[in-house]
């Protein structure tokens, strides 16, 4: 196998992107999974996609558009998710379809070739530049830094928002910080993984970690580890088999989730649980 390819700058950028994007996505994913709000993340990633297309259409930086629109969607979803009244899924579903509609509207209105738009849809980690890597690094550092600094506030809010509030933790603020970080992570990962696929790199590694541990700290580590691993294996396979990288990364992360679910100690009935209690112990 010829691996001299890894000496090239673009490949190094891709490998670094996988590490930094993986850490950010894996960490954010823990919140999405434990707070039971996967649909909120899906909605925000499509909002980011629509925002990026708006930027492409009107000629400003797609990243700014992506960040702005995903935060705007978070501002609408946040209060719904926080209050927990009327099933938020319905309203989030409406916003989700609106974002998808806007995305395709902007794409249709865009003059000329749509290659830039398609790249945002599929993503291409192999064309990441040094500045893309820098941006991923900054977001990953902010996400990890905040989680470490405010671990106990995040932990309490994730477990039970009303309980967190009742002991004097500003749970609403923490929820909005989580939504803000989700928006930022999605935005900077858009060019690597693509608007349609980014969400699975947030959800799948965390969902896999959720199957394997009862410790939240370990869940953060496992989730980030799985996300980085998905990036690396996906990248390698995409290079060796000459297939699209974003799609490969997402498929690898799904396979990791599948394996974690099969191996999960949380759903297995242990052998001793299958036997009736022996006569002498009744």
């Amino acid at each position: 196998m010829d691996l001299s390819i890894f000496g090239y700058q673009f490949m190094q950028n891709a490998i670094l992107s996988a590490v930094l994007g993986g850490i950010a996505c894996g960490t954010i994913g823990v919140f999405v999974v434990t707070m039971h709000m996967p649909f909120v993340g899906v909605c925000m990633s499509h909002a980011a996609f629509a925002g990026a297309l708006l930027g492409l259409w009107l000629g400003f930086n797609p990243l700014i558009g992506a960040f702005g629109v995903s935060l705007a969607s978070a501002a609408i979803i946040g209060p719904l998710a926080d209050r927990g009244e009327l099933s938020p899924e319905t309203s989030v579903g409406v916003i989700f379809s609106l974002m998808l509609g806007l995305a395709f509207l902007f794409m249709g209105l865009m003059p000329g070739t749509k290659s830039g738009a398609l790249e945002l849809l599929w993503g291409s980690i192999l064309t990441n530049t040094r500045s893309d890597v820098m941006l991923l690094g900054i977001v990953a550092a902010v996400v990890v830094g905040l989680v470490i600094a405010f671990y106990k506030e995040f932990q309490a809010t994730v477990f039970h928002r009303d309980m967190a509030r009742s002991v004097g933790i500003p749970a609403t603020l923490i929820l909005y910080v989580i939504l803000f970080l989700t928006g930022a992570t999605i935005t900077v990962s858009l060019s690597s993984i693509g608007g349609l696929l980014i969400f699975s790199l947030i959800l799948n590694p965390a969902a896999a970690a959720y199957q394997l541990t009862y410790s939240m700290k370990r869940m953060f580590l496992l989730s980030a580890g799985f996300a980085v691993l998905s990036g690396w294996i996906g990248l390698l396979m995409s290079y060796l088999l000459n297939i699209p990288s974003g799609a490969t990364i997402v498929i690898v992360s799904s396979v990791i989730f599948g394996i974690a679910t099969i191996l999960s100690p949380k759903r297995k009935v242990k052998p001793w649980q299958k036997k009736p209690l022996p006569e002498e112990r009744r």
């Binding site: 106990k152 309490a156 477990f159 009742s166 002991v167 004097g168 959720y210 009862y214 410790s215 949380k266």
Partner: protein
């Protein structure tokens, strides 16, 4: 009668609710409630479902939002700004909810959440905090389950953990919302005894919401009857919980109330 002994504490009012109105969407949960609670009192709040009992608790810890009236807690006027600060001194045990059995957090960590507000931002729990957590788990008899994932516990066990969490906060007020709901009769009696013990030994002021009348007489100094968002009556358990009052409170014929009493005697 027992309350007469505590004449010194009589002037010491720790909860003062004046004409509180709380509305959700199109419903009015409280329609002008005034209530004073003295330091060290154990007050039972009774009434049918939807009467506003839980809302009455949430305006004391500032989670419920007033549309009219004022609430003073521990000598401070409760405002949206003072809520965080006051909540650190008010222990709240909400109704038991289903917890995802796969939730990655164990019993000891859940109890520690009670101390997070006191600790404040950027400070980590130290040895002293873990010691308090372990003491509280011991007190509620849950030490043997300390390392178990919280979602694996039964309803009664989770209720005990919630009480331990509340106590780890070292509160001055102790608010309990239906702590005996959905428990078997042995667990009910145990939780009740535990709450009374804690109330006495830690000199707390306790508000105890329930629709389970069999719990009340042994535990309370005073009973508040709540119906349709208003305080409908109050008094000592013997004065308040008469057949006549209960029949009107629950819109039930007196004969049915008497029948219920006989059934409840088992507990």
């Amino acid at each position: 009668m027992g309350s007469r002994v505590k004449t010194k504490e009589m002037n010491n009012i720790v909860i003062n609710i004046e004409n509180a109105v709380v509305s959700y969407r199109e419903d009015v949960a409280l329609r002008g409630v005034s209530l004073r609670v003295k330091s060290g009192e154990f007050v039972g709040i009774v009434g049918p479902n939807g009467a506003g009992k839980t809302t009455l608790l949430t305006i004391v810890n500032g989670l419920g939002k007033l549309v009219h009236g004022r609430v003073e807690v521990l000598g401070h006027l409760l405002t949206p700004g003072s809520g965080h600060f006051l909540r650190k001194r008010v222990g709240y045990v909400p109704q038991v909810e289903n917890i995802d059995p796969r939730m990655p957090i164990n019993v000891r960590e859940v109890v520690m959440i009670g101390r997070y507000g006191l600790l404040g931002l950027l400070r980590r729990p130290g040895e002293h905090d873990w010691k308090i957590v372990d003491e509280m788990l011991e007190l509620v008899g849950m030490s043997h389950l300390a390392q178990r994932p919280i979602g694996h516990l039964s309803g009664g066990e989770q209720q005990r953990v919630a009480i331990a969490r509340c106590l780890a906060q070292e509160p001055e007020l102790f608010l309990l919302d239906e702590p005996t709901a959905s428990l078997d009769w042995r667990a009910k009696a145990d939780i009740l005894g535990l709450v009374r013990l804690i109330h006495n030994s830690r000199h707390l002021t306790t508000l105890f919401v329930t629709h389970d009348l069999s719990c009340l007489p042994v535990a309370c100094d005073r009973v508040i009857l709540v119906k349709q968002g208003l305080i409908w009556g109050e008094g000592s358990p013997a004065e308040a919980l008469t057949d006549d009052n209960l029949s009107q409170l629950y819109d039930m014929p007196i004969s049915a109330v008497r029948e219920r009493r006989k059934e409840a005697i088992l507990i």
